[in-house]
């Protein structure tokens, strides 16, 4: 009798991650392009104030790398949707896989991608300062000194936000895969719900959600909020896609 192989889930997931890191190299090049574009936007400054006092006239420009982070989050969101489209999805099934291993490797890939995105986004603030120094007429630059530990927390927090957005994209991608009409239903329901809530109770839902996640002062609360939400999103996506058929 021919011998049969019985690989463990962990082994298959590890191989798939390596496979996907190779095949999704395009994701990283789009990341670099996007962050460069965001960097150019950031040169414009995010805020400005000025005034005169007796013979003194002054003008202050605020610069921040927030736009780069926002772009990176959008990138993660779109990537997570893309990874669920027909082409990427069926790449998995050409070799050894089942739906669980396919989802797990996707999640790990998105996590890696989020960390890379967070590191480059956070470090780009240094690039921004250098850029301003060389390209701006105002040579006086006041900046906040960031200690290494602070930078590290910043990267982790940014990574978690990016991962959260990829979780959102992943569940949307999965639902659209389940039924194409979700591509229309989701935005309509989402926007409709926001309008309804705002009309009836004067609460702007998007703003509230934004506050809930982004205005969190405590690092640990922020971490648990984002991890729990993305965990929920990914689990839901896995449960939905466990019944899905491929190659059609």
């Amino acid at each position: 009798m021919m011998s049969l192989t019985d690989p463990s889930l962990a082994v298959v997931v590890r191989k798939q991650i390596q496979f996907k890191m190779k095949s999704c190299i395009g994701m990283f090049s789009t990341l670099i392009v996007l962050q460069l574009i965001a960097l150019v936007f950031s040169f414009g400054g995010t805020g400005m104030m000025g005034g005169t006092r007796s013979s003194l006239e002054y003008e202050m420009n605020y610069y921040s790398a927030d736009i780069i982070l926002v772009f990176t989050m959008l990138w993660a969101f779109i990537n997570a949707i893309l990874i669920k489209t027909k082409d990427y999805r069926e790449d998995d099934f050409v070799f050894v896989t089942n739906r669980v291993s396919s989802n797990l490797s996707n999640i790990v890939l998105l996590l890696i991608v989020s960390i890379v995105g967070a590191i480059t986004a956070m470090l780009s603030s240094y690039l921004l300062r250098i850029g301003i120094y060389f390209f701006s007429d105002n040579k006086e630059i006041i900046y906040t000194e960031v200690e290494f530990l602070e930078l590290l927390t910043g990267i982790i927090a940014a990574g978690l936000f990016i991962f959260l957005f990829s979780g959102l994209g992943y569940i949307i991608g999965t639902l659209v895969q389940l039924n194409k009409t979700f591509a229309f239903i989701i935005p309509v329901v989402f926007l409709g719900f926001i309008f309804l809530v705002e009309m009836s109770s004067e609460v702007h839902l998007l703003l509230e959600i934004g506050k809930f996640y982004f205005n969190e002062e405590s690092f640990w609360l922020l971490t648990s909020k984002t991890i729990m939400t993305s965990g929920l999103l990914f689990t839901a996506a896995m449960l939905v896609s466990n019944r899905l058929e491929v190659k059609q």
Binding site: M1, M2, S3, L4, T5, D6, P7, L9, V12, K15, Q18, F19, K22, S23, C24, I25, G26, D87, E90, D91, F93, V94, F95, V96, T97, N98, R99, V100, S101, N242, R243, E245, V246, K247, Q248
Partner: protein, 300 residues
């Protein structure tokens, strides 16, 4: 050991039944040809066996496991068709390397030798290959992965006659060196005949017949002679197919239940007796319409 076991397997696509109550058992280390007309459910069956699609009802087991969502079945099965999707970021050589990591019994030496023989360029991208070359490359993946269950769904799509011949030969040689269970679906039974051991003929999602190719060759005989004569002989036996030739001649393929004596009698009456090739037989057996395409144009 039974590699594939289907019991009352049914698959519904919306209202239409692609497979209906199909029951079949495939023993290990056999090359089975899956034959059927367009839309008879060949691909549906193979995709269920590979674990891509879920059955609607009935049981299906591959290596005693339900294939849908089974990592075990996936690790021991390779499914080759012309729709295989490889990442566009990888070159052909890189695809082979990735495949070797996934399939434990992968034979890189064989893969590379076939790769060179069919003069592939290692820098090429799978998406840019011609239809025939794509099928050829997919075939290399199918052979080199040495999976205990190797499934080829219309593997020769787009291949020219020379490559098709090479493929059948490569398949047979590799099978003899490393016996395993292979299922090939195809329209071209005549070409495939030499490599097959068993034939599974399906029609409208059901198992029409499943037998060794040698038996299939003996399954029916063809009788040709004048219409009166033929009609006389076939009045009370199992007729598979009849065809009127010219004004007064008739050809009939009938189930071969004759004794030697009866056959002698038929021959002596002036009727020509011939064998029916498995390819023709399968076409006759799966004919859904009465008459042939000629009758569409024959309005008289």
């Amino acid at each position: 050991m039974k590699v594939v076991e289907c019991n009352e397997l049914t698959k519904e696509h919306g209202q239409r039944k692609a497979l209906s109550n199909l029951s079949v058992t495939i023993e290990e280390n056999k090359i089975t040809g899956l034959i059927g007309r367009n839309g008879s459910g060949k691909t549906t069956l193979l995709k269920i066996l590979a674990g891509f699609w879920a059955e609607s009802s009935g049981q299906v087991n591959v290596f005693s496991n339900r294939p849908f969502n089974s990592l075990f079945v996936s690790a021991n099965t390779v499914f080759v068709d012309d729709q295989m999707n490889f990442p566009t970021a990888l070159t052909l050589k890189e695809i082979l390397e990735q495949a070797s990591k996934f399939y434990e019994k992968w034979d890189m030496d064989l893969a590379l030798r076939l790769f060179d023989y069919f003069s592939f360029d290692s820098k090429q991208i799978h998406n840019n290959l011609s239809k025939g070359n794509r099928s050829t490359f997919n075939m290399i993946i199918g052979l080199a992965s040495r999976c205990a269950l190797t499934i080829f769904d219309e593997p020769t799509t787009g291949m020219d006659a020379a490559v098709r011949k090479d493929f059948y030969r490569a398949l047979l040689k590799d099978y003899l060196a490393h016996p395993r269970s292979i299922i090939i679906s195809s329209h071209y039974l005549d070409e495939l005949e030499v490599v097959l051991e068993d034939v599974l003929l399906i029609e409208e999602g059901s198992n029409l017949l499943h037998m060794p190719i040698e038996e299939l060759k003996e399954y029916a005989i063809g009788l040709s002679g004048s219409s009166d004569q033929i009609d006389g002989w076939i009045s009370d036996i199992d007729v598979v197919h009849t065809n009127t030739v010219g004004l007064d001649s008739k050809y009939a393929a009938v189930k071969n239940d004759f004794t030697g004596e009866a056959l002698e009698q038929i021959k002596r009456s002036g009727v020509q007796v011939s064998s029916v090739s498995p390819g023709d037989l399968c076409v006759y057996l799966t004919q859904t319409t009465t008459g042939g395409i000629d009758d569409v144009f024959d309005r008289s």
